[in-house]
Assembly symmetry: C2
Homo-oligomer: 162 residues x 2
């Protein structure tokens, strides 16, 4: 199993949007340029983020995307679920009901214990992701991003935002 690559893109992109000056927006094309990502496909993911209300989209010249709420109020889980959906990764196909030993559906009162076990682990995963905010991600970046990259990013911002 592999997680959607768009998750990585989305978290990085939201991190960039977090540094936008008040009242500004960044179009998909510019964001794609910043990370050298395929523009149209990134646009799809940005639409998902928009539908999940993590970003606000603004049409027309000068438009683009900006965060719809402050970075401390966006969790990594929010971002992951916006891109990847909320469907559990483990899907119980109820094989316990199949074959010669299966019994009619109404005999089963609870979800299968195996499914419950898998879902409990997924909850632990989600809880861990919900514990980290976009602000936390920014903080880590501020501490660990190479100085040269910070300077280059500031340059880029200066040129892109008028």
């Amino acid at each position: 199993m592999k997680l959607n690559e768009g998750i990585e893109w989305a978290i990085h992109c939201l991190s960039v949007l977090a540094y936008l000056p008040e009242g500004k927006a960044l179009p998909a094309k510019k964001l794609a340029g910043f990370f050298d990502l395929p523009e149209h496909y990134l646009a799809k993911h940005l639409q998902s983020l928009s539908q999940a209300k993590l970003v606000k989209s603004i049409k027309g010249p000068g438009g683009g995307y900006r965060l719809s709420r402050p970075a401390p109020d966006i969790t990594v889980l929010d971002i992951v679920q916006a891109i990847d959906g909320k469907t559990p990764h483990f899907q119980c196909t109820e094989i316990r009901r199949r074959g010669p030993s299966g019994v009619p559906d109404e005999c089963y009162q609870k979800p299968c214990g195996i499914a419950r076990t898998m879902w409990r682990a997924e909850k632990a995963w989600r809880d861990e992701l919900a514990r980290v905010s976009l602000q936390d991600i920014l903080q880590i970046g501020a501490e660990e991003t190479p100085q040269l990259q910070i300077e280059k990013s500031l340059d880029w911002f200066g040129q892109v935002i008028q």
Copy 2:
């Protein structure tokens, strides 16, 4: 993202193998019949379980599979990783290094903070799965399986094991 359906099959199949009398083995064909699963594809998964040393395979007539160690010593994580591998679900493609603000590789000292966050969540998931043994799964089954299904299963066992 969806988890491999073989995980569900594998946990159920190992649960059945746990009830095998000492010295007996159950061939793939019989296991597939018990759950009405595609025989050849299940065989592939059983091979994975065999390579992971969760089951012992015995060739020839009267052969098949049996657990290679007692149910309390097999965790659900063991089973999941046997089927799905140990590669992390989140794969960092280092997009931080790309685009106009990227800097040379040697400037990055640690893995990206975003990847570390995702991996920490995966660890929470694995820890939760490692906490549950096959014995625990059997226990849940013993408590929750409908009585009629238990009887049918015993019938089936009686016919299949000579």
